[in-house]
């Protein structure tokens, strides 16, 4: 670990990039401390407290908690991502954009430019919405959040939030271009990781006041490390199907091991299935808020955050969405066609349908493992805090409550520092960035060679 850090800093190019990235992330964090003017901080906090676990909570997570604190970066990087998605959509339906996208570098530059304009438009709309929303907002206690409502506040908010997002977008692009890793991902990453010290602080103070059992704390730390190791392990997990390309006839084939393969990841869908599941599972609660019928209220209560039915349905939804999402992004028939088109084949398996069936088969099996893994990661932190609230289950609840061990029914009662989604994102971005650094480190081997082997001007 220390060794690789030393390596990073011993390559001037890499050192420059890493430092540049850290500096820009620092700028992002500093900006994230500046509140949008004209708001009552305490009232705001009260409001967000009541929104924990809802979809708004998710959105807040991705904005790096800038949303709940209503900083100048409240809109975060999201409008930019929405804009790129909308542009991608438009590329499908609008021939002009489609042509641009196929036009090589210049076309791509133009599309990036349009994405930026789009970001500003989305920002404006969202900022107007937020400013109106904020003016109308009351805390549960009924206090207004905006101190001096009116057009002045709206204009100021729109200007501040739009400028903030454009600046964040610029930071992200600069990181992608001149730093290391993907700037947009890293900004999200930074937003999540900053909660780490706060969580740690809470634990330490808990320890000091005696609210937390030191043994429990060690146990928790161990689980934390184990979970992260497990995530890294699974995220790296691939099933490699060997592939041969039978186009070249090489006089003598020399193999340094199988060089070509089709890598199928255990977790192809990444974090997306969890997000889909989470957005679906909030529907009952939202519905109950709107329709005040007792029956629905009862059902909705069963679906409340941390309730057993909630957990069960959540798990089922994650597994379903894992398969659903993979079926959208990964088409075995396309892959088989691609292989066939360029003369590739899986040894012993005929191209075409046989191949696509084979790929589908392998993918379905490893995806089951991937889906269970995702569900486990998503549910585990929740489980650790509150346990499996068996009591609340109809009919069998009391029985389970009485017979299951305490740490299952009541959890450990400690706050896990991250939610499952956060860990997945953090680990994912970190692994990706590490890979990029690694790629640069790989090139370092050559510097060594170049120095050692005394390359002369003579004959190159």
């Amino acid at each position: 670990m220390l060794d690789s850090i030393r390596n990073i800093f011993s390559i001037p190019e890499l050192r420059k990039r890493v430092i540049f990235t850290l500096l820009l992330l620092a700028v992002y964090r500093i900006g994230g401390q500046i509140p949008n003017p004209g708001l009552s901080a305490t009232a705001l906090q009260e409001f967000w407290q009541s929104q924990k676990g809802s979809l708004l909570g998710f959105i807040d997570l991705f904005s790096g908690r800038n949303m709940s604190r209503m900083t100048i970066f409240a809109l975060g990087i999201m409008p930019y991502i929405s804009a790129s998605i909308i542009l991608q959509l438009l590329t499908v339906v609008w021939p002009y954009l489609e042509r641009l996208s196929k036009e090589g570098e210049l076309g791509r530059k133009k599309i990036t430019q349009y994405t930026r304009y789009g970001t500003i438009v989305i920002c404006l709309i969202q900022a107007i919405g937020i400013s109106i929303f904020l003016q109308a907002l009351r805390t549960p206690a009924g206090a207004p959040i905006v101190l001096n409502p009116g057009w002045g506040f709206k204009l100021l908010t729109v200007l501040t939030l739009t400028t903030g997002t454009v600046f964040v977008m610029w930071l992200g692009e600069q990181i992608s271009e001149r730093g290391i890793g993907n700037g947009i991902s890293l900004i999200i990453f930074a937003g999540i990781v900053v909660n780490f010290p706060t969580g740690l602080n809470k634990m330490v103070s808990g320890l000091r006041t005696g609210a937390m059992d030191p043994l429990k704390m060690i146990f928790l730390g161990a689980i934390m490390v184990a979970v992260i190791a497990f995530i890294v392990f699974v995220e790296r997990g691939q099933r490699r199907i060997p592939v041969s390309y039978a186009k070249r006839v090489v006089g003598r084939k020399v193999y340094g091991g199988q060089s070509t393969h089709l890598p199928l990841r255990v977790n192809t869908g990444g974090v997306i299935p969890i997000i889909f599941a989470a957005s679906v599972i909030t529907i009952p609660a939202t519905a109950a808020n709107l329709i005040k019928v007792p029956v629905i209220q009862t059902v909705a209560a069963q679906f409340g955050l941390g309730m057993p039915l909630y957990n069960l349905v959540y798990i089922a939804a994650i597994i379903f969405f894992t398969y659903f999402y993979i079926s959208i992004i990964f088409n075995p028939v396309d892959v088989a066609d691609n292989l066939r088109k360029y003369g590739g084949f899986i040894p012993g398996i005929r191209p075409g349908k046989t191949t696509s069936d084979y790929i589908d088969d392998v993918l379905s099996r490893i995806t089951l493992a991937g889906a269970i893994y995702l569900a486990a990661v998503a549910i585990l932190p929740e489980f650790l805090i509150t346990g499996f609230k068996a009591q609340a289950l109809p009919w069998i609840g009391p029985f389970l409550e009485a017979n299951l061990p305490k740490f299952i029914t009541q959890g450990l009662g400690v706050e896990f520092m991250f939610g499952g989604t956060s860990i997945l994102i953090v680990v994912g971005v970190a692994m990706d960035t590490m890979q990029q650094i690694e790629a640069q480190l790989v090139m370092r081997h050559y510097d060594g060679f170049m120095r050692r082997s005394r390359i002369r001007g003579r004959r190159g």
């Binding site: 998605i85 021939p95 390309y245 090489v250 060089s259 070509t260 040894p347 005929r350 004959r459 190159g460």
Partner: protein, 816 residues
């Protein structure tokens, strides 16, 4: 560059503004030549005041010799500038005496730009050969070895003979390298101050040097300065084609002849399908079963049938995608590849091994030699071996980005000596091919009737022959110039400007062809000029706009009158291949019709389509560049090891030197000197052999690396990782193999014959260029890396994104 006219001042001012603006936008094109023009005036003045005109030849030589001594020493910046002025003035005078040519200002400006290490754009017919003499003699007088890399052997020979006396007046030696010269002759040529050669031959010689076992076998001196003629073509179009040296015939492939028979009967659509855009073909399930039953080999995809499957693929590719008289011609019982850019038969060009054999089997011609690739270098990387690189061409402007990106070369645009008055007429667009041909024949017959000379540029050998036949039916006499009869090229071109001449050509009559108005002696120049000069007709748009403008550039040279026009149909190959045809028809609501479609929007759309294709090709080149750069880094390292063994001046720290124990044992057994020689041979042999194996492995790795994007990895990164891992083991492998060989010698009874042990270079080597992206491999690399982005984006706008993906899939289903 006189600036005494007010109009000229405005021009210069606007050029200045443009350059400043370009610099601001980061565009490395210079159009502001005021600085160069000032230097030219100084050169002229120096020439005048020193009275070069009155000096004897010997005095000129003495001046050059003293300048050379000064240039070889340390010079201050100021003195350097003065020395350059003197060198240019001397070259000017020498050129005037030796060839009778007085250099125009624009030629000197181009020369200055090249001496600055830039690419000079000098319009067609402005005398690039002479312009090159200035920087070449300047470099040579500075004690640098100069290679002038020409477009072909003929030009190298011609230019060296033509300009040789100029250099000799300056006391510089001139050499020519031609293909097929023997080693001593080449060595003598390369030892000269200024060497004319083709880039390819210089590259091949470099590869051969890299396989030498004794210093006496080397032909090259260290690389120093290179001046590339037709820079855009050689540095960009051809640069991605690897030069390859191979030797030691490998195991013969599967029976290509039988496979050629088998695939001949297959039917398109039923037994195989093609994808025209990427030039790929693949058998359908029915086709596979048919091949299997005809061959009686069982499951073709079983591992033991791998060689057979590969050969079958090649046979199918050769049968369906490579067309005789378009992609290749048969001449003297040999398959000769026609270059897409130049329309010429490219000497020593091969397809990758299996494919070449398959084409030979298809045409029933004698099998050429097959072998293992021993060394390879892309021209792109070869040029980078020269510390100083510059070039000239008529069409650099449109490629400035690539020249900057790949070579760090800036572009200087030099205006013509006489302004160009050629009229480029708008395209005549047809919906399909038949009316295009009719209109072409009518147009040619009409213009021909008035006696105006016409040059027609077609896209393939076959098309040129078809058009010639149609003209013959219309009783228009014409000459045909294509890859099949390139021996009459010079004679045809001399007549092409004569009154009433009709010349049908392929891309051959593009670059480098100088058509003089009025024919051989230019007797009837005025008559032809009065008729409107040379009329250039293009029958197709090309994938690269530069090729089109090269064709236009045959007309209107040195201020001559002339005009150019393209006749195109939406059914032309270029539009079909990229699926533009269907889209253009739909977009402009066209139906097939007999007449031309006169629609400015359609023309714009066509031009746009051409740009799209260019952009795509650039993306592919860039992807290939990224991959080949790593391989080139590895190659240089291995070359460094080899040099270390080869020179062995400081013996003990040379790589792969035997351990002290082995050295002691070996020296005791054979004597120190003999054993040293053995150790050297063993190391060289195993370096070459390990490198050849590594190259084969890399080719294999590259083939399927795009698949890693399925696992959300970046292909390039994974390639770098895997290739580096394999490379890191290489040194140890070589060391181990060399030690084992030596130990076996030491431990053996009786004498050791190194040659009999197989420790020798290949018995015969041959060199060729590989058309490497025959299989459309590059395209896959630029596609399909967006899954990572998809994952990130979906995290935010999940449902929206699902909708996008669904829409995309729906659309794709509809499209197919």
């Amino acid at each position: 560059m006189s600036d005494d006219m007010p109009a000229a001042r405005t021009v210069i001012f606007s050029a200045k503004l443009k350059t400043a603006f370009n610099r601001f936008r980061g565009v490395p094109v210079e159009t502001d030549l005021a600085g160069y023009a000032r230097t030219v005036r100084k050169i002229r003045a120096f020439h005048e005041t020193e009275g070069f005109v009155r000096k004897a030849d010997e005095a000129l030589g003495r001046l050059a010799a003293s300048l050379r001594r000064r240039l070889e020493g340390e010079l201050s910046t100021e003195d350097g500038v003065l020395a350059r002025i003197e060198a240019f003035a001397l070259a000017d005078e020498a050129a005037r005496r030796a060839t009778g040519l007085a250099a125009h200002d624009v030629q000197m400006i181009a020369g200055l730009a090249m001496a600055d290490g830039k690419v000079a754009e000098l319009p067609t017919g402005e005398g690039k050969t002479l312009a090159a003499v200035f920087p070449a003699s300047f470099f040579a007088l500075s004690g640098r070895a100069v290679h002038i890399l020409t477009f072909n052997d003929y030009l190298a020979r011609r230019d060296a003979a033509w300009m040789g006396p100029v250099y000799r007046l300056l006391g510089l030696s001139v050499g020519v390298v031609q293909e097929g010269m023997d080693k001593p002759a080449k060595r003598t040529a390369y030892a000269c101050d200024v060497v004319y050669a083709t880039a390819k031959e210089a590259g091949f010689d470099y590869l051969r040097d890299r396989l030498a076992y004794e210093p006496a076998e080397l032909v090259h001196r260290p690389f120093d300065a290179a001046l590339v003629d037709e820079a855009d073509s050689i540095l960009i179009d051809e640069a991605r084609i690897p030069l390859v040296i191979s030797g030691n015939a490998g195991a013969p492939g599967a029976d290509a002849g039988r496979l050629a028979e088998v695939v001949r009967d297959l039917e398109r659509g039923k037994d195989y399908e093609t994808d025209a855009e990427n030039a790929n073909v693949f058998p359908t399930d029915a086709g596979i079963r048919r091949i299997e039953s005809l061959l009686g080999c069982g499951n073709l995809f079983d591992p033991e049938n791998e060689m057979l499957l590969a050969a079958a693929h090649c046979a199918l590719h050769a049968e369906t995608l490579l067309e005789r008289d378009v992609d290749y011609i048969i001449r003297a019982g040999r398959v000769e590849i026609v270059d897409e850019f130049t329309g010429r038969v490219m000497d020593k060009r091969h397809w990758p091994d299996g494919l070449q054999a398959a084409v030979e089997a298809k045409e029933g011609v004698r099998r050429g030699s097959e072998g293992r690739i021993l060394g390879s270098i892309a021209l792109q990387h070869f040029f980078r071996l020269y510390p100083a690189l510059c070039g000239m061409t008529a069409t650099a402007r449109t490629s400035f980005r690539e020249l900057k990106e790949f070579y760090g070369l800036g572009v200087v645009v030099v205006p013509p000596h006489e302004p160009c008055v050629r009229r480029d007429l708008p395209d005549v667009v047809f919906t399909h091919k038949v009316p295009k041909l009719t209109a072409l024949v009518d147009e040619i017959a009409g213009v021909h009737g008035k006696g105006r000379p016409i040059l027609v540029g077609t896209s393939s050998v076959r098309e040129s022959e078809q058009l010639a036949a149609a003209l013959k039916d219309a009783r228009v006499a014409c000459e045909v110039l294509n890859a099949k009869n390139d021996e009459i090229e010079a004679a045809v071109i001399v007549r092409a400007g004569a009154p009433g001449a009709v010349t049908i050509s392929t891309n051959m009559a593009g670059r480098g062809t100088d058509i003089k108005l009025g024919g051989a002696g230019e007797e009837e120049r005025d008559r032809v000029a009065a008729l409107g000069g040379l009329y250039v007709i293009g029958t197709n748009r090309h994938e690269s706009l530069r090729i089109d403008s090269q064709l236009r550039g045959r007309s209107g040279r040195q201020g001559d009158p002339g005009s150019s026009r393209f006749f195109i149909s939406l059914e032309d190959d270029i539009f079909e291949r990229y699926g533009l045809s269907r889209r253009l028809f739909k977009r402009h609501r066209l139906d097939r019709r007999a007449g031309a479609v006169d629609d400015e929007l359609l023309r714009k759309d066509i031009l746009h389509g051409q740009r799209v294709i260019e952009g795509r090709n650039l993306d592919i080149r860039r992807a290939l560049w990224d991959y080949s750069t790593l391989v080139e880094t590895q190659r240089r390292i291995v070359a460094g090891w080899r040099d270390g063994v080869f020179d062995r001046t400081a013996q003990s720290d040379a790589p792969f030197y035997p351990s002290p124990e082995l050295l002691a044992a070996g020296s005791a057994r054979f004597g120190r000197e003999v054993f040293d020689r053995m150790a050297r041979r063993a190391a060289l042999f195993h370096i070459d052999s390990a490198w050849a194996d590594h190259l084969a492995w890399l080719a294999d790795l590259r083939e399927g690396i795009h698949l890693v994007s399925i696992g959300r990895n970046e292909p390039l990164r994974e390639f770098q990782k895997a290739a580096t891992e394999a490379f890191l083991g290489l040194q140890e492998k070589i060391g181990y193999a060399a030690r084992k060989t030596l130990e076996s010698f030491v431990g053996r009874e009786g004498p050791v014959d190194l040659d009999a042990e197989g420790l020798k270079g290949p018995s015969s080597t041959w060199t060729y260029l590989v058309n490497d992206d025959q299989f459309g491999w590059g395209v896959e690399l630029i596609k399909g890396t967006n899954i990572g982005f998809a994952a990130g984006a979906a995290a935010f706008a999940g449902p929206l994104f699902v909708f996008a993906l669904l829409a995309n899939r729906f659309r794709r289903k509809k499209a197919s």
